[in-house]
Point group: C2
Chain length 318, copies 2
């Protein structure tokens, strides 16, 4: 029987979403269940299987018609072995997730981390469509990334490639959650923007940010747009570091596109104009001119669509 | 006729070296002529042709037995189109170097820049043998690099990938030759080490470096080994930045090996111990533990052996 469909699963700390799609990415059926991580490895695995079964039955498809299954999950994980090593909001510890699903359905199954899945999603269906070499970064609580090289995801030796959030931009900069100092993530993530705002308020700065009980990067963008000087200065400084992070990516990968997603990218023009300015200043002209720096193309469904894209890409490349 | 040989050409500002080798890289004949760049494009092209002809005749081989020709040249150049765009010590400007050689001999001919050729040389014959993903950097007057990804050189969109010497490590650091500030090259190259020494001497520092009329990184290594405090501090600071540069490469590529060549790498243990220490501090443990950071394996012949390796690798991958 012709295998004309793929299934994508977005495994998160609060919910598991699945979709079945045709080879053009057209979704036939979707299903979402709560993760209930507290119930443990076996229960969560069974709920993933339940979602796969449900989207197949809802679309009247059987295993023989499914080319592959793609699963996106928080990491760290070993994509090559199909093992989740550990992850804060899920019960899996060195858990072989791919094997039981592959055996249960007799379908090739692939696992990758959220950032790589988002990169693949953008490459196959989003803003990176038609490129050969592109880098995706997500800038929200943290900064993560994924690179498509010669039309395939680049995972590196230990499946940790593109940890660009933990490249050092300031030798003795603020401490990062990873324990290091001056990482891009500690300087330019949404969390970093929020932290700089909190520090300004605590330092007694004259700013409209004081009105908020719990200030995050969102409020900094809102107040900066209204003209608050302190909010604007914070953004300018943090986005300059984001620009340096992207400039270093451009100088290293010489990609066709750098695609930026995540909460901070929703800041819009102020973000992209600043990043572009820094790239133009700091990179060789040939590379800077040739590289587009653009927002992610996929919306709220990015996780599950990315997992569908993972299933398609891996089926093609394996 | 079986094509069992390749030719490598190392094109430099002062000399052109060529070698013919079998498919295992065993050199059968070598020849070197002065470049005499001042005589112009045509004359230099003819001398490259002369070297190719000479190594073929010295080894009693004919065109039909040659699989491919590899040429290493300073850049910037367009490896995909086989064009040298411009380069300080050679007469070529937007010169199609590959085409006339390919036509003259009827042999597939490939061109790449020195850093990529060195990376390929290390991958095929040197310290990177047997890896799948590795990064080579050369640290001398400047800092350049090349990456092997999935067994092939990664060139990027405009053939400028791995300009790691021009990634920013200090936002408002010393001015770099590229016009930017705080590039790795301005902080950690041999030139940077020499500049820091000159600044120390001019600033009246109490250092044995004062005895030298023209101090370079070489003298800084010599005096640091003898125990000069200022020389040791300069090295510690510059090698810390080299460590950050390498740590950022590790966090980005998650490679099996980072291979360091060039004059500064000749500093030996003091260089590699410091770089390793910084990588261990700044990178995720899984990546740092899995990545070897080692000196280049090829010696003085690296240029021409690298060009032989380019010929072999491109013949295999095309």
């Amino acid at each position: 029987m012709d295998k004309k469909y793929v299934i994508g699963i977005d495994l998160g700390g609060t919910k598991i979403s699945g979709a079945i799609a045709d080879l053009d990415g057209k979704v036939l059926a979707k299903h979402t269940v709560p993760t209930l991580a507290i119930e443990g490895e076996k229960a969560v695995l069974n709920r993933i299987i339940e979602v796969i079964t449900k989207v197949m039955s809802d679309s009247n498809k059987v295993s023989n018609e499914i080319k592959s299954i793609g699963i996106g999950s928080p990491g760290p994980l070993d994509a090559k072995k199909g093992i989740i090593i550990t992850t804060p909001n899920l019960p899996f510890k060195n858990f072989s997730l791919v094997q039981p699903i592959k055996e249960k359905f007799g379908i090739d199954t692939y696992l990758d981390n959220d950032a790589n899945v988002a990169a693949i999603g953008e490459y196959v269906f989003g803003a990176g469509k038609g490129t050969k070499n592109m880098v995706f970064i997500t800038v929200s609580t943290g900064i993560g990334g994924g690179a498509i090289i010669n039309g395939n995801i680049y995972r590196g030796n230990t499946c940790n490639a593109l940890e660009v959030g933990h490249t050092t931009l300031v030798e003795d900069g603020p401490r990062c959650n990873c324990g290091n100092y001056g990482c891009a993530e500690a300087l330019a993530s949404g969390t970093a923007i929020g932290n700089r705002a909190k520090e300004a308020i605590e330092g007694g700065a004259d700013t409209s940010l004081k009105q908020y009980k719990d200030v995050t990067s969102y409020e900094v963008f809102v107040e900066a747009k209204k003209g608050d000087k302190v909010a604007k200065e914070i953004l300018d400084k943090c986005l300059n570091y984001l620009g340096i992070c992207v400039a270093n990516i451009v100088s290293t990968f010489d990609p066709e596109k750098v695609i930026i997603g995540g909460g901070v990218s929703k800041g819009g023009d102020i973000v992209f104009e600043k990043v572009r300015e820094v790239v133009n200043t700091r990179c060789f002209k040939a590379m800077a001119d040739a590289c587009e720096i653009i927002p992610a193309g996929l919306g709220t469904d990015a996780g599950v669509i990315g997992a569908v894209a993972l299933a398609l890409l891996e089926a093609k490349n394996n």
